[in-house]
Amino acid sequence: MLFSAGKILPILLLLGVAAFVLLASRLTGSSTLSQHPDFIVWTFSPDRVTTYRDSIDVAKFESITGRRVFVRLMSPAVLNLKLASLIDLNQPTDALPDAVEIELSYLGRYFTAQETDARSAVGLLPLDDLLSSSDATLSPARLENCRFLNSVFALPLDVHPVTITYRPDLFLAAGIDIEKATTWTMFIAACQAYQKSSDKKTASTSGIRIGRRALGVQPFNSELAMMILNQRGISLIDSTGKSRLKDQHVLDVASLCARMIASDGITLAHGAADDAWASDLDSGKVAAIITPDWRAQQLTRLAPKLAGKVRMMPLPVLDPLLDVPTSTWGGTVIAIPLHARSTTDSLTFLRVLYLESQQPSELLSANTAIWPKQPLADAFFSGQDICQLQTMLAARVKPRATSSNAVIAQSLLADVIWRASELAEADRGKWLIKALTDADAELSRRIEFRQRRSH
C-alpha cells in the first residue's frame, strides 16, 4: 500500500524523517534574529574576521554598548544579494545587519535615486553628521567613492594601491630592465623587445610558438583602461552623473589599450579560473601581472615557487606631471543600513572602530583610511620593502566616482577597445573617435532613461 508509487518515495521519506530527527535533537533554540541581541557585522573577507576578533576597538565598543560583536562571513555575491534584497524591502527588519561591509563595485547599486532630497532613498544611513563631529581625516580619494548627492553613505575601509609584479629573471634574460620604463610608451617598447627576444628563443627550441607575452590582464573587460584612466583621476561617469566617454583622455587611453591588447601587442588574457593570474606568472606565460595589494598577498600562497623571483614596481604613467604611478582596484567600504535595528549603536561602532581607533598598527594606515593587512614576507619579493612601497602609493591614489551605471559604461568601453584592437593601427584613431562618440551617446541615453522617470 505504501509502496504503490514505487520504492523511491518511501525511501526518501525515511531519509527526510531521519534527518529531521537528527536536526530536532540539535535544536539550538530560537533562530529568529529579534532575539539575537548581538551586534551583527557582515563581511566577505576572511582577513577582516581576524581583524575584528583581535581588535581592541571591538572590545571597547562591547563595553560601551554591552552588545557582543558577531561577525558573519559570506561570499561577496551572496552578501550583495542578501543586502540588496533586504534593503529593497524598505522597511525595518531584524534580518538587516547592524553594519555591513560592501565591495566597492557593488556600492553603485544603491546610488540610484536622483532627487536631491532622496537621501533616504539610498537605503544606507548618511554619515555626514558622524564625520563632521569627528576629527579624523579620511583619505579624500576614498571618501569620494562613498559620496552620492553630496552625502557620504559609507566609510572607506581600505585602499588598494595597484602595482605591477614582474619576474626580473625573465626580463633580464632578454637584457631588459623593466623598472626603467616609467611611462607607458617606454613600457610597451620594453615589453615588445622582451617578446621578440623570447619568441626567437622558443621558436628555435621547439618549432612551436608558445606565445609568451609580457603582461597579463583580465579577460573580457576594461579593467586595464579603467586603471590607466584612474591614474589621472578620470572616471567614466563623473560625480555629476555625466558620461565622459567622449573625453580626449579617454580616447588616448582607449587607443593605448587597443595597442596593448592587439594581437601584436604585449598582453595575454588570463584564463577565467580564479587563480589563473598566479599560475600564468608562475609558469612564465606572462612576465608581469597587475597586482592590487591583496593579490600580492595571495601570490605568496598561490605560487610559493616564485619566492625570491619577483619584484614589484609602480605603474608606468602617460604623463609624468598629471598622472600618479598607481591606481585602485576594488575596495571595501562599511555602511549602515537605513533601517538597521539601532542606528545609534551602529554609529558608535563606526566611531569607535574607524574614526577614533586606538588599534596599534599592524594596521597600516594611509591617510587614516585603514588598511588591515599583514606585512608580506619581504623575502618573497626579493628583499623589497613591499609595504613601504604600497603605503607610499596608497597615499597618492586618485578618486573614482561611484555610479550605478558603471557596469554599463565599462562594458561599452571594453567593447570599443576590443574592436579597435582588431583594426590596423593606422585606422584606429579615426575609428575610435567615432566609436567613442557613439558609445557616449548610448551611455548618456541610458543615464537619462534612469533619471527621467515621470509621465
Binding site: N80, L81, A84, I87, D88, N90, Y106, G108, R109, Y110, T112, A113, Q114, E115, A118, S120, A121, G123, I208, R209, I210, G211, Q218, P219, F220, N221, A269, H270, G271, A272, A273, A276, S279, D280, S283, K285, S404, N405, V407, I408, S411, D415, W418, R419, E442, F449, R450, R453, S454, H455
Partner: protein, 278 residues
C-alpha cells in the same frame, strides 16, 4: 472533485503574488527607484526604452540562437540514445543510468567550473589559442556543454516513457519484417510523442533561461564582444548589478512574451493540450 482542484488552487496561489509584483514593477516608472517616497505611476517608459536597447536585442539574439541550436539536437539525440538503451543488459544498466544522470545531477555551477579547468588556457600551457576569448566559439561551447549536461537525463525520461509501450506492438512489427529503424519510427515515436513534446518544450524554455553556465565560464561578464550575453544575464545585470528593478522586470516581461509566442505555437503544433487517452 476537491482532490482535483486542490493542487490547482495551491499552485495558483503560490505563483501569483511574485508574478503580480513583477508585472507591476515592469509597468511602473517613477522618480527614483523601488524605495522612492513618490508613488508609482503606470507608464510604458520601460518598454519604450527596451525597443531601442541594443543590448537587449543582442541578448535576445544570443539567447534564441542558443535555444534553437540546442533544441534542434537535444531531443533527437536523446531519442536515439533512449532507443539504444533498450538493448542494454540489465546488469550494466544501473551504471549506465548513473553515468547519464550524473552529468545533470552535479549541478550547473560545478559543470561550468569543470569545463573552465578543461578549456582554460592556463592548464594547457602549450596553447596560445584561448577558445573562450573568441566570440565565434561562444555559441558552440555553450551548446556543447548544455547538450552534454542534458541529453543524458532527457534520454532517461524518454526511456521511462518507452517502457510503457506494449511489447506486443514491437513483436507484430518484427513479424511484419520491420527493421530496427522502422520499428523506432512507427512504434516507439508515436507512443512517446507526448513525453517527448513536453521535454522539448521544457528544453526550449530552459535554454532560453540560460544563465549559470555563461556566468561561470565568462567570469560574470558578457563574454567576448558580448557574445555570451543571455537574456537572463542581462536581466541579472540590470536588476542586481545596477539596481534597476523596474527595467529588469520589463526585460523579463518582454522575454516571457517572446517565449510565450514560441510556446503557444509549439503546444498547438504538437497537440499537447489534448487529453490523450488510448
Amino acid at each position: 472533485m476537491l482532490f482535483v482542484f486542490l493542487p490547482v488552487v495551491l499552485f495558483g496561489t503560490v505563483l501569483v503574488y511574485p508574478m503580480l509584483r513583477g508585472t507591476f514593477l515592469a509597468f511602473s516608472s517613477a522618480h527614483g527607484e523601488s524605495f522612492s517616497p513618490n508613488p508609482d505611476r503606470l507608464s510604458l517608459n520601460n518598454f519604450r526604452f527596451l525597443l531601442s536597447d541594443r543590448l537587449f536585442w543582442l541578448a535576445a539574439a544570443n539567447t534564441f540562437g542558443f535555444a534553437l541550436l540546442v533544441s534542434l539536437f537535444q531531443i533527437p539525440l536523446a531519442l536515439i540514445l533512449a532507443f539504444m538503451l533498450r538493448s542494454i543488459r540489465s546488469a550494466v544498466m544501473p551504471f549506465v543510468r548513473i553515468a547519464l544522470l550524473s552529468t545533470h545531477l552535479v549541478g550547473g555551477v560545478f559543470v561550468g567550473l569543470m569545463f573552465l579547468q578543461i578549456v582554460s588556457p592556463s592548464v594547457r600551457s602549450a596553447a596560445s589559442f584561448d577558445v573562450l576569448s573568441d566570440p565565434r566559439f561562444t555559441l558552440l561551447i555553450l551548446c556543447t556543454i548544455t547538450l552534454w549536461t542534458t541529453v543524458g537525463i532527457t534520454a532517461l525520461h524518454l526511456q521511462s516513457a518507452m517502457r510503457s509501450i506494449d511489447p506486443a506492438l514491437y513483436d507484430s512489427a518484427r513479424i511484419d519484417g520491420a527493421s530496427g529503424t522502422r520499428q523506432f519510427w512507427h512504434v516507439t515515436l508515436p507512443a512517446v510523442r507526448g513525453t517527448a513534446c513536453v521535454l522539448w518544450l521544457a528544453g526550449i524554455i530552459a535554454s532560453a533561461q540560460l544563465f549559470e553556465l555563461p556566468f561561470v565560464l565568462y567570469s560574470q561578464t558578457a563574454g567576448p564582444r558580448g557574445s555570451a550575453l543571455t537574456l537572463v544575464m542581462y536581466l541579472f545585470q540590470t536588476g542586481f548589478a545596477s539596481g534597476d528593478l523596474r527595467y529588469a522586470a520589463a526585460i523579463a516581461w518582454v522575454m516571457m512574451l517572446l517565449l510565450l509566442v514560441v510556446s503557444v505555437a509549439f503546444v498547438r503544433v504538437s497537440g499537447l493540450a489534448r487529453t490523450q487517452t488510448n
